[in-house]
């Protein structure tokens, strides 16, 4: 049954391709993403971007010790710096993708690189914690928004068949750099004091401007043939921001799903150390659990990307599967801890693997749901929507810990959110079919959606 449908789909695509070639209308965008070739360079850009955005954020802890002492503030007040930075990154994502729709991805990412570098350079001259909030938090955060989601979108535009693997390889930057950056930042602090170290980090962040330069345009700025050039500003803005997506059921369903994912996903990162210390394990044992989980996280990303691209199961099904497993392992974590150090370690490793595995899929699935044309805007909006999950999950888990006295309730809650999100994913339209359904936007006569070919590579 399958080979026949595959061939039919291939012929259909080739016919429409021929039509596009012979038709007199200007082609809005390329029909086939250029798998491989320059695409892998863009993956390299995504790798560097992951390092310099999320890897950097994860390793800022060593600076916080200095800030607490120098400014005489509490650890909680200092931790607001990263909270503001991450919040800006998610809040300004829709704006970033809208600007990309208007002007193209390359200039936006380059501007983002400049902003993130500028934030750290200005931070090196700070005389109060508020200055750090404004520079490292606000300015760099907006820079990260202009960089991260557009680069992810660019990689997705370059790949169809190997999309998950490309994303996975790109994201390994986060894990690998957090291993390297911690000792590096410590060295910078000791050699140059925190002001000098921040200045150098600003310079390092400027490398992301070069990453932006690497993103050669594949698709062009969103064609305005559909909406009249002279139509009102509001309607043009709504097209750039992809606001009509907010009214579509598939998008909203997926938005709800990733909000739930986000509510549970970060709990292990925040609470695992404290949980293992409370269970009575030593500092070294706890640190080892974290490092080992970091390794399985990286492995999970690459594994998931490679397996997904083999094409046995649809991406949505893989995502559902991995999030289901992650939810179960999160629920199992408190139980595993009761089984001693070995139990904690195994459940933790499994949880790390599933966490890493779902990360590339969460992004790679988006074109399946909204179509390639709207993918960039959708990514931006989703970043904003999922921030609600993050804002909900972290304080809730902390409150559960304070009221129940142990972290078991927090992990149970995280597992519950993951399972809930997994269940919501099953309600996506066309979930039960083996073939990828046409995305909503295609019904309006847009370009045919690129699909997952089932032939083996």
């Amino acid at each position: 049954m399958r080979p026949m449908t595959t061939r039919w789909r291939e012929q259909k695509r080739s016919i429409s391709g021929l039509h596009a070639m012979t038709a007199k209308e200007p082609v809005k965008r390329q029909q086939q993403p250029p798998e491989g070739g320059w695409g892998w360079v863009v993956v390299g850009a995504l790798f560097v971007v992951s390092c310099l955005v999320y890897g950097l954020i994860r390793s800022l802890g060593v600076f916080f010790v200095e800030f607490v002492q120098y400014f005489g503030e509490t650890a909680q007040a200092v931790s607001w710096i990263t909270s503001i930075g991450l919040a800006m990154q998610q809040l300004f994502s829709p704006l970033a993708t809208a600007l990309c729709n208007m002007y193209g991805t390359r200039p936006i990412v380059m501007i983002g690189g400049l902003l993130s570098g500028l934030g750290f350079i200005l931070a090196s001259q700070a005389t109060s914690l508020t200055h750090l909030y404004l520079t490292m938090g606000l300015i760099s955060g907006i820079g990260w928004a202009f960089i991260f989601t557009p680069t992810v979108g660019a990689v997705m535009q370059y790949f169809t068949r190997r999309r998950s693997l490309a994303m996975a390889i790109g994201f390994t930057g986060v894990g690998l750099s957090s291993f390297a950056f911690s000792p590096l930042f410590q060295f910078l602090l000791e050699t140059y004091a925190w002001r000098g170290a921040l200045l150098i980090l600003g310079g390092m962040s400027l490398n992301m401007v070069a990453c932006g330069a690497l993103i050669r345009p594949v698709t062009f700025t969103k064609a305005m043939e559909k909406t009249v050039q002279n139509s009102s500003l509001l309607s043009r803005l709504s097209v750039y921001f992809e606001l009509p997506l907010l009214l579509q059921r598939p998008f909203l369903t997926y938005g709800a799903a990733i909000t739930f994912f986000n509510a549970g996903y970060f709990v292990p990162y925040v609470h695992l150390v404290a949980h293992s210390r409370t269970a009575g394990f030593s500092e070294y044992q706890s640190a080892f659990v974290i490092s080992a989980t970091g390794v399985t996280d990286i492995l999970g990303r690459v594994l998931s990307g490679w397996v997904s691209d083999l094409g046995r199961l649809r991406l949505v099904h893989m995502l559902c599967l991995w999030t289901l497993l992650l939810g179960l392992f999160l629920l199992a974590l408190p139980l595993g801890t009761m089984g001693g150090y070995a139990g904690l370690l195994t459940t933790s490793l499994a949880q790390g693997l599933c966490s890493g595995a779902m990360t590339p899929l969460v992004f790679a699935v988006v074109p399946e749901i909204v179509g390639m044309e709207r993918m960039l805007g959708a990514l931006g909006l989703l970043q904003l929507i999922e921030s609600i999950g993050g804002l909900l999950g972290a304080p809730l888990s902390g409150w559960l810990k304070d009221t129940t006295g142990s972290y078991s309730a927090s992990f149970a809650m995280a597992g519950g959110f993951l399972l809930l999100g997994s269940a919501v994913t099953t309600t996506l339209p066309g979930f039960c079919s083996c073939a990828v359904p046409k995305a909503h936007s295609d019904a309006e006569g847009g370009t045919p959606m690129t699909e997952e070919p089932k032939e083996k590579s």
């Binding site: 291939e10 021929l18 070639m21 082609v27 086939q32 002492q69 200045l199 310079g203 401007v209």
Partner: protein
């Protein structure tokens, strides 16, 4: 008259109740314990005149119950051993007997002063302010803190409130601010001393002063590298595919069409 009689009876009853719930608990080795150089110490409580039958007992430290110290039974004595005397062993311990109402006796375990630098080496920038911190984790906490600067073989006392130095102290920590750091004069070792009445303890911090410009050179190096990278990327792009950059659709369209044709041929042959 009846009112007066009622009042007297009431006050006698109250006095009786108060007197009845005043248990005598003897603490060993005493109300205040100074472990000093010993490696372990055993605290003991022995209750007489319990207000009600004893159901059990447990120990607390600084208000929090200590795990695994709960015993059940009518034992009028209870013991708690502190196996390892470190600076954290000190505190306000209490034995609690489960009676109606609870009978509690507090025992203070006082260890010698504990002083530790927050960070053993500090780095500051020229003309910036340097911050040196010492903390104490022990009981009792120091009443007095002192700072000294090591010059040669001797220690020079640092006075609070000058243009150069400011000291802010609380029992748990002391902070020395050195303003307008000078690379030659202010670099070196600083000593903090604290005394909680049971002896003086010291901590040493090494302060390094870095030039403001020190980080500037690597920074400029990185900026130069970024500019070179961007220039190379754009020049490479212009040289490699000039038509792709200037004119968009046509070449790409022909590429994709070629791909389509190839794929079709492959498909038909294979099937």
């Amino acid at each position: 008259m009846r009112l007066l009689w009622g009042f007297v009876t009431l006050s006698l009853c109250v006095y009786h109740t108060v007197a009845a719930t005043d248990p005598q608990i003897t603490a060993t080795p005493g109300d205040e314990v100074f472990p000093g150089n010993e490696t372990s110490v055993t605290l003991g409580c022995s209750i007489t005149d319990a207000p009600s039958p004893i159901k059990g007992s447990y120990w607390t430290k600084n208000g929090e119950k200590i795990k695994n110290t709960e015993t059940e039974g009518a034992d009028a004595t209870t013991e708690y051993s502190i196996d390892k005397i470190t600076n954290t062993a000190g505190g306000k311990y209490a034995c609690v007997f489960d009676t109606q109402p609870q009978s509690i006796k507090e025992i203070e375990v006082k260890t010698p002063t504990h002083v530790k630098p927050y960070k053993e080496s500090e780095h500051g920038n020229e003309n910036d302010k340097g911050v040196l911190t010492c903390v104490s984790h022990g009981y009792p906490l120091p009443l007095d803190w002192f700072w000294f600067k090591v010059t040669g073989d001797s220690e020079v006392a640092i006075i609070n409130g000058t243009e150069k130095y400011e000291i802010k102290s609380t029992p748990e920590r002391t902070i020395l601010y050195v303003k307008a750091l000078d690379m030659t004069a202010d670099m070196g070792d600083y000593v903090c001393k604290g005394d909680n009445g049971l002896g003086m303890a010291t901590g040493q911090i090494h302060l390094r002063v870095r030039s403001r410009l020190a980080a500037l050179w690597p920074f400029l190096g990185i900026v130069a590298e970024v500019i070179v990278l961007i220039a190379v990327i754009f020049i490479y792009e212009k040289k490699r595919k000039p038509d792709e950059v200037t004119d968009g659709s046509a070449p790409l369209k022909s590429n994709s069409a070629t791909n389509h044709k190839d794929k079709n041929v492959r498909q038909r042959n294979s099937n």
